[in-house]
């Protein structure tokens, strides 16, 4: 029983870590859109914090999970390169379309995670695990707010990117 829930937690954990990475990457690629840059980094921190809480949950299900391994030098180089590139192409109208594409990809990834959280919440109910249920509820809500922000930002960006000029 718990092994299967453990498997779900493992998937969710990996997906949250990927989403954190994706938020950081998109933020850096759109450093010229300062709100996207700052907020994506903030949301990446939220994903990382959820992953951390999932690691402590996983222990209870006998599936210990590991922190993502650091690739500091490579990460730093790529991150700097993306930010520099964003500055170089800031004046190009296509950056609006690239932003829409990136928001869509984040949205798809976050929706998948939404689905995992729904599953984990159902399992918590069936397990009568109040502690897990409350943790899932908290984190699921936070994820849904991220999804909502992605939609908000995309709605704002779409008309200018698609129609102007």
């Amino acid at each position: 029983m718990s092994a299967r829930v453990g498997g779900l937690v493992e998937r969710l954990h990996a997906a949250e870590i990927d989403l954190a990475d994706d938020f950081r990457t998109v933020g850096e690629r759109h450093a010229a859109d300062q709100d996207v840059f700052h907020l994506c980094h903030q949301l990446a921190e939220q994903c990382a914090a959820r992953a951390e809480r999932l690691r402590s949950i996983a222990e209870r299900f006998g599936t210990p999970l590991h922190e993502p391994t650091d690739k500091p030098t490579i990460d730093w180089l790529l991150s700097s390169a993306r930010r520099a590139l964003s500055g170089l192409v800031a004046h190009r109208p296509e950056t609006g379309l690239v932003l829409l594409r990136d928001l869509r990809q984040l949205y798809v990834a976050a929706e998948e995670i939404d689905f995992y959280w729904i599953m984990l919440g159902q399992a918590a109910q069936a397990l009568r695990d109040a502690e897990l249920l409350s943790a899932v509820d908290d984190m699921h809500k936070q994820l849904l707010t991220q999804v909502k922000w992605l939609k908000t930002r995309a709605k704002e960006a779409a008309p200018q990117a698609l129609v102007a000029g």
Binding site: P93, T152, E156, P159, G165
Partner: protein, 792 residues
Amino acid sequence: MSVVSDRTADIWGERTPYAASGAWPSRVDQHLTVDPGAVEKWVHSACALCSNGCGLDVAVAEGRIVGVRGRADDRINHGRLGPKGLYGWAGGYTSDRLTQPLVRVDGRLQPTDWDTAMNQIVAASKKTLSSAGPLGMSFYTSGQLFAEAYYALAMIARAGIGTPHLDGNTRLCTSTAAWALIESFGADGDPGSYADIDHCDTLLHVGHNVAETQTVMWARMLDRLAGPDRPKLVVIDPRRTPAAREADVHLAIRNGTNVMVLNALLNEIIANGWIDREWIDAHTAGFDALQAVVAEHPAERAAEVCGVAVEDIRRAAEILSSAERLVSTVLQGVYQSHQATAAAVQVNNIHLVRGMIGKPGATVFQMNGQPTAENTRETGANGLLPVHLNWQNDEHVEILAKHWNVDALQIPHWSPPTHVMQILRYIEQGSISFLWVNGTNPAVSLPQLGRVRELLGRDELFLVVQDAFLTETAELADVVLPAAIWGEKTGVFTNADRTVHLAEQAVEPPGQARSDLEIFIDYARRMGLTDRDGQPLLKFATSEEAWDDYRRLSEGRLCDQSELSYAKLRESEGIQWPVTKEAPGGTERLYVDGRFHTASGECESYGHDLVTGATNEKDEYVAHDPDGRAIIKAAPYVEPNESPDEEYPLSLTTGRTAFHFHTRTKTGRASELVAAAPSMWVELSRDDAAALEVAEGDIVEVASRRGRVVAPARITHSRSGLVFAPFHYGYWDAAQTADPPTAANELTLTAWDPVSKQPLFKTAAVRVTRVGPGEGPAPAPENTASQRVGAP
């Protein structure tokens, strides 16, 4: 009558103490530049040099303004005037007023006539419309015009051109005030009355240097503090402001930590049971979530993050908890800082958990900075639709479409109107190629000036600037239009407690200068902007007709002014909206029955998540319809975007001084005000100055990742780690040079609040280095927050 000798030396004037619920005594301040017998007429008006809106009379002789006198019976000031009000009007009379239109010829601005200038603007508009459509057009207006001009501009942009890209410089000033009120109470508009200062037993100022930003409001508070039943005073501000010196508790927090300290105060108030549970249950929604979030912000944690003593947080909480009539005020220290809307909303929450709103002496003021900011917001010339209509509510948009006689689809309402920082981003991307700036000076007032100058100066951008002077922004323009200013035109404006005044024209504008309203009407006519029947879109020709059209639109809304005619305004000494058939004399307080403007059909917005700015959709709001309950919204503290580090170890904040307004376009041309604060300075704390071996008046360089300024240093009593720079000083006058640069916004960063989209001017990491000795003390005032350590 007090004929003022020097209001710059004695900023708040002599004390007229009074007791709780007593009448604030009158004290008429007057300043004349001629013999009183030479005054030919006095013209009824109100001061437009801060958001207080003091009633005054303008003295006229030989066709010129020659002085001002406070109106003893005006509900706002009871006769008083501050330094800017007394002296600032003279700034309109310098020889460098713009008196004719200018157009750029061979790279230089040359005088021309109105036809030539307007035809160029129309040709550029049509070119942009044909190549990029309405989304290529943008407008950036002010917080210092009158309601009628904003309203005309909103009609032109929203219904005529059909662009969402219209914003006001209220975005830098009070966008957060509007959003804090909307998020908590469902609609813009401060709930209380200035008379609540008379009734309160406790005052709380959060990021509000009231003694300098609204000097006459502070005079009223000082008179309470000097009288019997002295109210308790709590001040949250990193600087030792004049109010902080009077405070029972001064929490000199690290800038950027407002949410932390406010959550800690709320946690103390709730944990100690100092709340009105019955009122909370009857009139609010969301308390449980607040309780859970603030519990994560205990006083000990806040003390560490904010850099203040835990005992002081507890003492402040006790004072707020023992208050029976609490008045709180909030301004730029919150609105322009990190987590702006989230922090402003927590001040609302203090009032909501204590049930202290809608009663005499119990209210929160989400203050305005500029004199007519309320009107920019009300008329929809910034990020909202007119008369507080909700862009997400189709029935609301239909009200507007019907009134303007256009198709609802013509009015952009697919997302919120575009904020100015995003307009700049679209200019950077090249998708906006036309920008019309009026009554504001973004080349000095927006963050990260190097970038702003580059964008506004682009060849690809057609820039129109409408102003009274050749500002730093006008220098970059393709066409410059000379505008009439206060005293030279008639119009309505509204202050921070919803008090409406009519400012009458006293004199003719100089040369060919025209009122903003005339210019907009002329543009609409030349552009051939029409309604759905092919009739002219703007059906008014005078300011009174424009006002009448606007007040008809307001009927039935919270800001209903349908019964507020020019005739009624002429007879009034300031009148608070709503002004309706039921309340023909105005309305002193909103929400007196504990019913707020949050019902889904009437609210101005469905609200946002305070951390991300994610917009709530109609369906989810309707599903949990607060239906008149105030909404208690919680937000956890989040670290600022840019914190001090090894390379840039100090934290910059910017702000005002009592003697100037914005980029000094007027105040920098009034001799008394110039003498009081002639040129740029920066402020350092004692500890930092000692560590940097900087003495008072030494020249220092302040550098951030974006730029640098060089100026004399003033050593003050502010908290250590803080650098303060006044934002007034640009480059138009001889007192300043562009090399080395002096404008504070060379240093600030491009970032904004996720909800209000207000740029953040209060947190930037900087480093300071001593350049060399100066010539005596820094040219900073001594009788303000800039008071130096060891001052006589």
